[in-house]
């Protein structure tokens, strides 16, 4: 009896560590989702002031960019809408271990699907990984399995963003060409190569950098703009061209 149950749970654990096969029960499920949801609502009241400040800052930034843009440009932006944003609340967030997930209170009902990107006012959070009717699970950028295309804002040199599991405010941008000129404090943004994120969403700034073992590519430590330990309001990004783009390039990962 013990052996059977132990083997079952061991198998479940290895499944959960294996990104491609995961079909394991998870926190996007109805029951666990709703319990997390009900109680995180109570917690909301304690953070109202902080959230207000955050919204004010974001509003300020958006307003100033609107005032500095010509009206014709704004109108043309509206015509070619490529991305749809859905606001969501974080129900459960983890950042302690190597494989971290975040649960949000929007799911298939709100037309959220796998591989949609998730951002906050400050920067990226992760990619949707599992969905249920009312909840969805995000593969956090603080997950050693996470891989996101990103680039240096200044020079457009790109690489893959991953996490080494050490600090929860520092991620790594790997495989950047050694031709790239990097200085500390440079901004790292999304590259827009994948269909998950639009181009130029802020991620963080260069904290330090070094050449990898074969001395031909850079590994950059990136300090995140987001405080991943304190997430509340996030936006899910849907690329409206996702299906078209995907059918054009079926081998895309």
């Amino acid at each position: 009896m013990f052996l059977i149950l132990f083997l079952i749970s061991f198998a479940l654990t290895t499944q959960a560590h294996d990104y491609n096969k995961t079909k394991v029960i998870n926190s996007a499920y109805q029951i666990s989702g709703s319990i997390h949801g009900a109680f995180s609502k109570i917690g909301d009241y304690f953070y109202l002031r902080e959230e207000n400040n955050l919204l004010l800052e974001e509003n300020n930034r958006l307003k100033s960019s609107v005032f500095n843009t010509k009206t014709e440009q704004i109108e043309s932006i509206n015509i070619q809408q490529k991305f749809r944003l859905t606001p969501a609340l974080v129900n459960k967030n983890s950042y302690r271990f190597l494989e971290n997930y975040i649960t949000i209170d929007k799911g298939e009902k709100d037309s959220i699907k796998e591989d949609f990107g998730v951002v906050t006012a400050k920067g990226i959070v992760g990619v949707i990984d599992k969905t249920s009717q009312k909840y969805a699970r995000i593969l956090s950028i603080l997950n050693t399995k996470s891989k996101i295309n990103a680039k240096l804002k200044k020079s457009n040199h790109f690489g893959t963003l991953g996490w080494d599991g050490e600090h929860h405010n520092i991620v790594q941008l790997n495989d950047v060409q050694d031709l790239a000129e990097i200085t500390e404090g440079d901004t790292i943004v999304t590259s827009g190569f994948s269909y998950t994120f639009p181009e130029n969403i802020p991620i963080g700034v260069v904290k330090s950098y070094l050449l990898n073992d074969t001395k031909d590519l850079y590994v950059i430590n990136v300090e995140l703009f987001n405080d991943m330990t304190n997430l509340r309001h996030v936006h899910v990004i849907e690329n409206l061209d996702f299906n078209t783009l995907n059918s054009l390039n079926p081998s895309n990962e």
Binding site: M1, F2, L5, F6, I8, S9, F10, A11, L12, T13, T14, Q15, A16, H17, V24, I25, N26, S27, Y29, I31, S32, I35, H36, F39, G43, K92, S94, Y95, R96, F97, L98, E99, Y101, T103, R137, T144, G165, T229
Partner: protein
């Protein structure tokens, strides 16, 4: 017997809720969250059937796993602890175990301390090995298991002391 079953159900639900809603949000000293739910396994009545006991522990672990996205790590650790418990009961309580007369409420603090410490350490080591699942991060496993274990132990002892009077 019925009242025993009833109090077990209450304890089960209360500990799961306590774990998920409070302990998982504690982040003591940055990131330490105690795993208080194993108190259920520690103080489960000794007389009861061990097969059903192991099964209940499995269910408890799986429930926690669902809430924490850890696959089956909690279930594996809980089942192991439930399976190994008789050995440690014998070791810590000695003769009382032979007569099936252990009363956790009445056991003195030292016996309880040793018994809790051993089982909590085993549970936490298995748990963190499975959660971290990377042999290059052994240091992370040890430091996490020890720091969290200490916190869990403290909380478990506090809770049992708090509730022991009332149940008499």
């Amino acid at each position: 017997m019925n009242s025993l079953l009833f109090s077990n159900i209450i304890r089960f639900t209360a500990l799961v809720l306590l774990q998920v809603l409070i302990c998982n949000q504690m982040n003591f000293l940055g990131s330490i969250n105690p795993y208080i739910y194993i108190l259920f396994i520690l103080i489960y009545p000794v007389k009861n059937n061990s097969l059903s006991f192991i099964f209940i522990s499995f269910v408890l672990g799986i429930l926690i796993d669902v809430f924490m996205d850890t696959g089956g790590a909690h279930a594996a650790a809980s089942v192991t602890v439930a399976y190994m418990r008789p050995v440690f009961l014998k070791f810590s309580f000695g003769a009382a175990y032979e007569y099936q007369a252990i009363k956790f409420n009445e056991a003195d603090l030292l016996t309880r301390f040793i018994y809790f410490t051993l089982l909590i350490l085993i549970h936490h080591f298995i748990l963190f090995i499975l959660i971290i699942f990377d042999n290059s991060k052994a240091g992370m496993v040890v430091s996490n298991a020890l720091s969290t274990g200490l916190f869990t132990l403290f909380l478990a002892l506090t809770l049992t002391t708090l509730f022991s009077r009332k149940e008499k």
